[in-house]
């Protein structure tokens, strides 16, 4: 599928890339750098439904476990199975090949609460 604009949550840990009501979710490059070498990713079950802000996954590095919360509400439609064998994909490509799951959005108006890439980049600069 072709994916559209990337949206970044204000907590700046996760992103969702939406195309036609389906969103691909992952953690930011900033977040993976803070975690260090990732050794395990907890993938959600397909068809599980989550509210915005609910923990959908956890990403574990050698020293820490980071919760991954959904930036928008949705139903899990697919998970990135490649992360089972190669959790380091999240380090190598957090905002592309290291995506965690795909969700069907249940309330697209929630996207209004998120930052787009330009706003996110500006936010990172200001930190």
């Amino acid at each position: 599928a072709e994916y559209g604009k990337q949206w970044y949550q204000r907590r700046v840990r996760e992103w969702v890339n939406v195309s036609g009501g389906v969103g691909r979710v992952g953690i930011t490059d900033h977040a993976q750098a803070a975690l260090g070498d990732i050794v395990y990713v907890d993938l959600p079950d397909v068809d599980a439904e989550f509210d915005v802000g609910e923990e959908v996954s956890s990403v574990e590095s050698v020293k820490a476990v980071g919760d991954v919360a959904l930036p928008v509400s949705g139903i899990v439609k697919a998970v990135n199975d490649a992360l089972s064998d190669t959790p380091t994909l999240v380090n190598q490509s957090a905002e592309d090949g290291g995506w965690i799951c795909e969700i069907e959005l249940t309330d697209t108006s929630e996207l209004d609460d998120l930052m787009d890439k330009a706003a996110y980049d500006a936010f990172l600069e200001s930190e």
């Binding site: 050794v39 395990y40 907890d42 956890s58 574990e60 050698v62 020293k63 476990v65």
Partner: protein
């Protein structure tokens, strides 16, 4: 020796000159107050190194015992060394690097042997020991010359690198060594902690260490839980994760765990009911909401490399 033996489980009297061992301070109920390293020096004293994190309670405990010993007429004293720091240099290249700063022949300083040595002109106590499972030394150095010592070590070879507690923790876990506070504490006796090897035979027979009766009772009873090593599939096990049997019943708890850099596996230490301690016993570990297969294995996870004297 007698005063120290009233505190720890080692055969202090039986230590050869300038040698030592890992030992434990115990409560009157047999619980472990701290683990420690003791050495008999030929410099007029017994050297005791404990965990800095337990300094306050260890000192209070030791000083109380000292008072009792003095009142009963013993000629003994305790000198605390507040102006000294401990630098550990670990790894197979330690001897080669250190020899450049030391006149004494380090090839004769065997595992658990200790000596007063000038290291690049700095008066130190060098002991062939450590907490990584590797060959290496711990150097007790005057605090105001610690930076100088470390700079000399770093300059001696490109192979010398600074390492922090993260590396120290994965190494000691790979070596099957306990972290006080995680794997052992005052609620564990040497029996549950699988540390009866630190209780010398003579001391077991004499029952003359704090908590001896309770410890020997548990030793013979063969009940309760025991500290074990585990290899866990998929996800790392972390402290407090439940250990389950194949029926999903809780039979224990993880006390330390992490990915093992040397083996590439997820390794862990924990306590399980005594029925599950055979090597190869299949178990499960609950990692947050999921459950993963685990196997009880012997420790160390990585073979140790202590520089033991070949007789």
């Amino acid at each position: 020796s007698d005063t120290l033996e009233s505190l720890i489980v080692a055969d202090v009297a039986g230590l050869a000159d300038n040698t030592g061992t890992l030992s434990l301070l115990t409560t009157d109920q047999g619980g472990i107050i701290d683990d420690c390293i003791v050495h008999r020096t030929t410099d007029g004293y017994l050297n005791l190194v404990c965990n800095a994190g337990c300094a306050d309670k260890d000192l209070a405990h030791i000083m109380a015992r000292l008072e009792a010993a003095k009142s009963s007429g013993m000629d003994v004293d305790v000198e605390i060394k507040p102006n000294h720091s401990l630098i550990a240099v670990q790894g197979p290249k330690t001897e080669g690097v250190l020899q450049g700063g030391v006149r004494d022949d380090l090839s004769k300083l065997f595992f658990n042997h200790t000596a007063l040595v000038d290291v690049w002109g700095i008066p130190c106590r060098v002991t062939r020991c450590g907490y990584t499972g590797e060959d290496g030394v711990e150097i007790s150095v005057p605090t105001d010359r610690t930076v100088e010592l470390v700079e000399k070590l770093m300059a001696a070879s490109d192979d010398v690198k600074l390492a922090g507690l993260g590396a120290r923790d994965s190494l000691r876990l790979e070596a099957g060594l306990c972290l006080y506070g995680n794997d052992i504490d005052e609620t564990t006796t040497p029996v549950e902690g699988t540390l009866m090897w630190t209780v010398a035979k003579r001391r077991r027979a004499a029952r003359d260490f704090p908590g001896a009766d309770e410890v020997m009772r548990r030793f013979k009873a063969k009940e309760g839980r025991r500290r074990v090593g585990l290899v866990v599939e998929k996800a790392p096990a972390r402290p407090h994760y439940p250990i389950l049997n194949l029926d999903g019943e809780v039979v224990g708890e993880v006390t330390s765990g992490s990915p093992s850099p040397c083996t590439g596996q997820n390794i862990a230490m924990g306590y399980v009911d005594i029925g599950y301690i055979k090597n190869g016993t299949p178990l499960q570990v609950q990692v947050r909401k999921k459950v993963f297969p685990a196997t009880k294995v012997a420790m160390p996870f990585v073979p140790t490399q202590y520089y033991v004297e070949r007789k």
